[in-house]
């Protein structure tokens, strides 16, 4: 069959770009800001014109327009009402009919799967128990990541002599960390912002699978380094620099497949950091090819512990899938000091849309079932449990801790703090906010001084809110909320959901 070179697209614009001619001063800020070439300056008419077809709804132009002349809004779906053939499915079929490819996308699952955080409510003290005012009383969020033994042992036995040292522990001043965002997927300025904010707030950021740029080694004490299936940028100094080493098995946005970084994003600097040639695609294999089963994982865990002389916790991260509880139990038994579950709504720089939108399970259910299983097996204390994928607020964090999480990774929330408007174009490399791109012109849009401040502000704000919620519950140390599901109640959940979450329905 002959391929026809040009084809009229049947896709209609998704956004309406309205320009108020009374306000527009034709300054061309929008022309310069838009990375999708929506705006164009017509010299003859001394007017700025827009091509709505290419607008992705990132709102960069509207936010930067000095005259507030631009309004970007969603166009009503062009198709007739149809609950089955909703616009998303229509558009996807049209795109594939026009390209014949797999649809790629960025960010997290945008489907309407139930968000359990929004069906869980928190408790507060009334009468029988005083609430605690965090403005007047100490309120402790300190969290330790690492394996805890069943009991404290003493050198002299029976409480005599010194307490025997524990396996390595890493201290967090609040239970929120920045999740894996690899160099190449995001820019160095973004990573620097994350690293500096984590250092300032006493928490950790995660390199993702793209190695650690030489300029960021100084933040090593606050860094989690990843070892993923591509082994990009893994070498002794990289492991030595970190606070925690994380083995990446899977990712919530694309369970079962590896990370893909297109060659266009592999610049000179990225190539040096990843230890691959410039311009080559960085394609992580779907599995780790030395891990085809649980005992293989145990070998890698222990190889990394050997390599780092048992001085730092080793983490294992998986995507939350159907048998997470059993898998997590195996991970703990294979020696992981921290296990990470990444849920259905976890985001990515690039993933096949069908995988992102259909594979994996909601993080709330995975968290609850894993915490419960590890307790049933009496091994919950042997590893810290960290979750990520869809945490949007301090309340989500508090609910996750009550369900059983030791700490929470945030990704999208951090990027939104930096400017991300969740337009889902990460895979294009054209991020208008300068976040998910390696284009040197665009990466300048993130100033690490300002970025670090915005991120630290977010954590500071959440930390205050978490303390306020804890105090309301009459709790002054986070460990007393961790796994304490009596402080949660479900609203509008069915019996099976309540059972899995281990919470009662509100009113009972």
């Amino acid at each position: 069959m002959a391929t026809i070179a040009t084809m009229k697209t049947f896709l209609e614009p998704r956004f309406r770009v309205e320009r108020d001619p009374e306000r527009c001063i034709a300054c061309q800020v929008c022309v310069n800001q838009c990375t999708f070439d929506v705006h164009r300056y017509d010299e003859e008419r001394d007017e700025v014109l827009s091509v709505e077809q290419d607008c992705v709804g990132c709102h960069r132009c509207a936010a930067f327009c000095p005259a507030n002349a631009l309004t970007i809004s969603r166009r009503p779906p062009p198709y007739g009402e149809n609950a089955n053939w909703s616009p998303g499915f229509m558009e996807d079929v049209i795109k594939q009919a026009e390209t014949g490819g797999m649809l790629l996308t960025g960010m997290g699952n945008d489907r309407g799967y139930r968000v359990y955080w929004d069906h869980l409510v928190l408790n507060a003290s009334q009468v029988t128990n005083p609430s605690i005012d965090p403005l007047r009383e100490p309120m402790e969020l300190t969290t330790f990541i690492g394996s805890k033994p069943d009991r404290v042992e003493f050198s002299g036995g029976n409480g005599n002599g010194a307490a025997k040292p524990l396996p390595p522990q890493v201290t967090l001043q609040l239970p929120v960390m920045f999740t894996a965002l690899s160099y190449g997927a995001v820019s160095l300025h973004v990573q620097e912002s994350l690293a500096r904010a984590a250092t300032e707030m006493g928490t950790l950021w995660n390199t993702g699978e793209g190695g650690l740029h030489p300029s960021l080694y100084r933040y090593g004490k606050n860094t989690i380094v990843q070892v993923a299936s591509g082994r990009f940028g893994v070498h002794p100094a990289y492991l030595d620099a970190a606070a925690i080493v994380e083995i990446k098995i899977g990712q919530g946005a694309k369970p079962g497949i590896g990370g893909h970084l297109p060659g266009e994003k592999v610049s000179e600097d990225v190539s040096r950091t990843r230890m691959i040639p410039t311009g080559t695609d960085a394609l992580s294999p779907a599995p780790q090819h030395d891990i085809y089963s649980i005992e293989d994982l145990a070998q890698l865990v222990h190889a990394l512990k050997e390599a780092t002389n048992y001085t730092k916790p080793v983490s294992v991260k998986i995507a939350a899938v159907h048998n997470s509880a059993a898998i997590a139990s195996g991970m703990v038994r294979s020696g992981a000091d921290m296990i990470v579950l990444d849920g259905l709504r976890g985001a990515t720089g690039a993933a096949p849309k069908t995988i992102r939108d259909n594979v994996g399970i909601p993080i709330e259910l995975a968290l609850a079932s894993v915490d419960t299983r590890l307790r049933q097996e009496g091994i919950r204390n042997l590893a810290s449990l960290v979750i990520c994928g869809g945490i949007r607020s301090s309340a989500d964090v508090v609910k996750a801790v009550a369900l059983g999480a030791d700490a929470i990774y945030i990704g999208t929330a951090a990027l939104v703090a930096l400017g991300c408007h969740v337009c889902q174009q990460c895979h294009t490399g054209k991020c208008p906010w300068g976040i998910c791109t390696s284009d040197p012109h665009l990466t300048k849009r993130i100033n690490p001084d300002i970025g670090a401040q915005r991120l630290a502000n977010l954590l500071r704000g959440w930390s205050l809110e978490i303390k306020e919620m804890l105090g309301g519950m009459g709790i002054n140390a986070l460990e007393s909320l961790r796994g304490n599901r009596l402080h949660l109640r479900g609203v509008g959940l069915n019996g099976t959901e309540l059972d899995i979450l281990g919470v009662k329905h509100a009113g009972s």
Partner: protein, 383 residues
């Protein structure tokens, strides 16, 4: 249907919530004294309770059977008693059995039948189970499998007496003025439900450990789930139960000294730990890291007792009251100063311990006030 007359948490609340009055007295020379003054002290705090639970623990109670485990058992039927006695005879060497003497008392309604059995447990057996563990397992067996029978006291040379009513009435009912002991604790309560069941009153006891408790533990949910990992099943659904099991786990099974166990239940703040001398930081940090799930958060005051020892402890920001008094060899711990002054008008000293500061009285040891709080000195302020 669940028999509501026999549960302490009839509505299946997250936990039973109550406010309470506590009193404890110990003669540090181990001399036995009558409980009359303890009963008076409890009556003095009557307004702290509403008649829905009172009880006492007495140590040095049975010198004539000091070597035997004394099982106090309440029965709701003659059938339960027959079944239990058969079980006791088959599992233990029964030395003596008798009904606990009682008298009809106004304010004490529908009492169960209460008996006591003095038994010997088999010595260490081939399977390595110690006599103590053997007794614990048999007590759990009776309490969970024999309908209408409940063992509420199982230690040596000590006993618990408790029921639904004001403690002074419960004391009259059990004729406590006839007994002597070197250590007494007493408890009254104001629960927010109406338990009709005598087993739900304090003290809670296993072996010779007893706990009386005033408070509502906000960390109950995780304390309970952590203890379940170690095989405890919290059948009573009260937060006092988790205090008792925490003490059992830390002190009896993990061999921690009581002062360290207190530091697990009411730890120093992280900022206080950082101000301790370098050498002490490790211990406090390790205890908190390992046993963080046993931190008892929220308001509580407890008096924990076992053979020869009485310990008072409040939560680390002291949200429930506790007063200590001394007079010669006597040490008193109470919810208020008034009952101490009532039974001991010329006390040498009374004071309110700091939150989380354990007060430990041991027979044969001079009482020393413990000050584990870091000394306020030079502090580094983080900017």
């Amino acid at each position: 249907m669940r028999d509501l007359s026999r549960v302490s948490n009839p509505y299946r609340d997250d936990k039973v919530m109550d406010a309470c009055g506590l009193f404890g007295a110990i003669d540090l020379k181990g001399r036995r004294f009558s409980g009359e003054r303890v009963i008076e002290a409890m009556a003095n705090m009557r307004f702290r309770s509403n008649g829905l639970g009172g009880g006492f623990a007495v140590y040095g109670l049975y010198p004539e059977y000091a070597g035997q485990y004394a099982l106090h058992v309440m029965f709701l039927s003659g059938e339960a008693r027959r079944e239990t006695e058969e079980f006791v005879r088959s599992k233990f060497a029964l030395v003596h059995a008798e009904e606990v003497p009682t008298r009809p008392t106004e304010g004490v309604a529908d009492p169960p039948l209460v008996w006591r059995y003095f038994v010997d447990a088999p010595e260490r057996r081939v399977d390595g189970v110690s006599p103590d563990d053997y007794v614990v397992a048999r007590v759990m067996e009776i309490n969970t499998s024999i309908d209408g029978a409940f063992v509420f006291s199982s230690g040596k040379d000590m006993g618990v007496f408790k029921g639904v009513g004001y403690p002074e009435d419960i004391a009259r009912f059990f004729r406590l003025e006839d007994y002597e002991g070197y250590l007494w604790t007493g408890h009254n309560r104001f629960p927010t439900n109406t338990p009709g069941w005598w087993g739900g009153a304090h003290p809670f006891s296993i072996l010779d450990w007893t706990v009386i408790h005033n408070g509502e533990i906000s960390s109950y949910g995780i304390n309970r789930r952590y203890l379940e990992q170690f095989g405890y099943s919290c059948t009573m659904e009260t937060d006092t139960e988790v205090v008792a099991y925490t003490v059992d786990l830390l002190i009896r099974r993990h061999n921690l000294p009581v002062e360290m166990a207190a530091r697990v239940m009411a730890p120093l703040l992280w900022s206080e730990i950082e101000r301790l001398p370098e050498a002490e930081q490790g211990l406090h940090r390790t205890l908190r890291q390992v046993y963080g799930s046993l931190l008892l958060n929220g308001p509580f005051a407890v008096i924990i007792a076992h053979r020869g020892e009485m310990v008072g402890l409040t939560d680390r920001i002291r949200l429930r009251p506790m007063v200590v008094g001394t007079k010669g060899d006597m040490l008193y711990i109470a919810s208020e100063e008034a009952p101490i002054r009532l039974v001991c008008p010329d006390a040498d000293e009374t004071w309110i311990p700091k939150g989380g500061e354990p007060v430990v009285g041991r027979v044969g040891k001079t009482f020393r006030r413990m000050r584990l709080q870091p000394q306020p000195g030079r502090q580094t302020v983080k900017v």
